[in-house]
Amino acid sequence: MTRDDVVLLPREAPVQLIDAAGAKVPDAEYRPPTAERLRDGYRRLVIGRRINDQCNALVRQGRLAVYPSSHGQEACQVAAAMVLDDGDWMFPTYRDAVAVITRGVPTAEATVLLKGDWHSGFDPRQYRIAPQATPLATQLLHAVGFAHAAKLRGEDTVVLALCGDGATSEGDFHGALNFAAVFQVPVIFFVQNNAWAISVPLSRQSAAPSLAHKAIGYGMPGERVDGNDLAALLAVLGEAVGRARAGAGPTLVEAHTYRMQAHTNADDDTRYRDSADVTAWLDRDPLVRLRTHLAARKALTVAAEEEFAAEAEAVATSLRDALNTETSPDPEDLFRYVYAQRTPQLQEQWASLSAELVREASE
């Protein structure tokens, strides 16, 4: 194996800077973030967990049509948002609502899709976040094109594209990594390997030594990281962002984490996995780990914890408020945005629906 091959290959074990018990793990290559940055990260984890819990509760109350939870994956969600600059772009999936909110999208806008009011609820340009993608891996190519355009104009925008382990089996995953490497564009492919694609385990997705090992096949570096260790995620993703911004091209980062809840509320995970497998991951919880670590370093006061909890509660309240507010989307919106200029046919169809609505109202 040549030297370059070795650099492109991930490590034998995922990078870890804080172990499951909260103890620091020395690493020769990756420097841990400062205590201040980790404390800010912990704050976001607390809020992220509260968002997941609140959305699950709102689904049970029938206020949300569906919620694909990232419970247990909050470190990945928070890290994805924290490593990007304001001018960078994120291309998230349906499971990445916490990342989207962490990057600044108000809860009311972030939940429009899940509430059923529209397909996406925020202006991508305002937050520099693409609409959350529902089809798998398709958004990775958009990220590549977006980054390619920035590169052609000589801008230093970095693009971070998220996907899960199941999506790595899709053709567009292959296409996106191949195009990104061929054109050397500034994209980080961030795979949250949560072990399950609905009911199908990772072993049925791939026989590769790890998903990060796929990177070498495209000629880009791949790295594996403990997906429940915020410090390691910030370090590994941060380095990939730096490399992309410096013009050194794309990176594939695989985070090893676990989907603690069913795929969505519509899924029954008792049909395909043992609850013991799930509870085993409770010991690796990203919040508990970081809290223990910060407390041991005396970097987390009781006052700060109370402050974070209060902030999380305020976010939860805003979620409840947004979802308990009755909205009645305008039926004309169905015709309004299909084209920049409404076609005669759509105008005719809206006139017909509109007349029908007037008749209904008068009956």
Partner: protein, 337 residues
């Protein structure tokens, strides 16, 4: 509506060009006019495309403006989506109709829907060029008339020129359009020649009456327009005056021009190479039936390809609409009632 307008005053220079050369000129002029325009696809660089539509563009405009990609249609279209999101105006080439199918998910789920999904915040000004249709003796996967798939997808705008002039003007218009446009290029007509005035615009969404007549309206697009025109000449010899409408834009469909034309004659035949079941021709026939019923002397007829996978080269003449089949359809339009 462009019913029998006199030939427009020509302000530019008119040249005789093949459709392939007209498309090449359109791309070249668009690259010159707007530095956000980018061209990419398979073999579009040094080779100039398998049909030479991008001939010389990389040499003239550089590798950043016109470049080859890895061989992956979904990748090409998906990358174009991202570029269009980020301020570019990508113009991508699918090498053949059937080779565009790997990109279908990107086209249907994203290209067509991004503007709607984002309530107009992110429109995708991009063009997907697809050489389509048969009549060239091509093998399987090289001759599909795939327009119905695109026309059936809300959010796409689909054009299919039949002359070098329209090929030039519609491609320029497509590149300037705020929404994604699928440009279906009838590959059988790539080498047909005609006058091209680069100052002429062909607005998207407008059909054209390309031959006046009083007895029957033939409605066609792409390579079937020439079949319609040839049939009109043959019918004239038999004493029938045939009007021909070139649809030009498949979506949004120009109901106004087409219906006015049919009402003026009271008889209509729709001609298209694609298999007829659930096709664009079927939609046009249905629209004419709904909107012109009181004017019709006979049911609207269709002359289309058969509902079979595209024929191998030695059999394609049996499935392609031709003059005889069109004349038979015209003859069946209840003349003696």
């Amino acid at each position: 509506m462009t019913l029998l307008e006199p030939a427009p005053a020509r302000t530019g220079t008119t040249e005789t060009l093949s459709m392939a050369a007209a498309l090449n000129r359109a791309l070249s002029d668009a690259l010159t006019a707007d530095d956000r325009v980018l061209i990419f696809g398979e073999d579009v660089g040094a080779l100039g495309g398998v049909f030479r539509i991008t001939d010389g563009l990389t040499a003239r405009f550089g590798e950043k403006r016109c470049f080859d990609t890895p061989l992956a249609e979904s990748g090409i279209v998906g990358m174009a989506v991202g570029m269009a999101m980020n301020g570019m105006r990508p113009v991508v080439e699918m090498q053949f109709d059937a080779f565009a199918y790997p990109a279908f998910e990107q086209v249907v789920s994203h290209v067509a829907k991004m503007g709607n999904r984002t309530r107009g915040a992110v429109r995708l000004p991009m063009v997907i060029r697809i050489p389509y249709g048969g009549g060239i003796g091509g093998v399987e996967h090289h001759c599909d008339s795939s327009e119905a798939y695109y026309v059936h997808t809300p959010g796409l705008t689909v054009v299919a020129p039949s002359t070098p002039q329209d090929a030039y003007s519609l491609l320029r218009a497509a590149i300037e359009f705020p929404d994604p446009v699928v440009v279906l290029e009838p590959k059988k007509l790539y080498w047909s020649k005609g006058p091209v005035d680069t100052s002429l615009k062909a607005p998207i969404g407008e059909a054209a009456v390309v031959r006046e007549g009083t007895d029957v309206t033939l409605i066609a697009y792409g390579s079937s327009v020439q079949v319609a025109l040839d049939a009109a000449v043959a019918a004239e010899a038999e004493g029938r005056s045939i009007q021909v409408v070139d649809v030009r834009t498949l979506t949004p469909f120009d109901d106004s021009t087409v219906m006015a034309a049919v009402r003026s004659t009271g008889r209509a035949v729709v001609i298209a190479e694609a298999q007829g079941f659930a096709s664009v021709a079927a939609e046009i026939a249905a629209r004419v039936g709904e909107r012109c019923f009181e004017y019709l002397e006979a049911p609207v007829r269709r002359v289309t390809g058969f509902d079979v996978p595209y024929a191998p080269p030695k059999l394609e003449r049996f499935t392609l609409p031709d003059v005889d089949r069109v004349l038979d359809a015209v003859d069946a339009l209840h003349w003696d009632d």
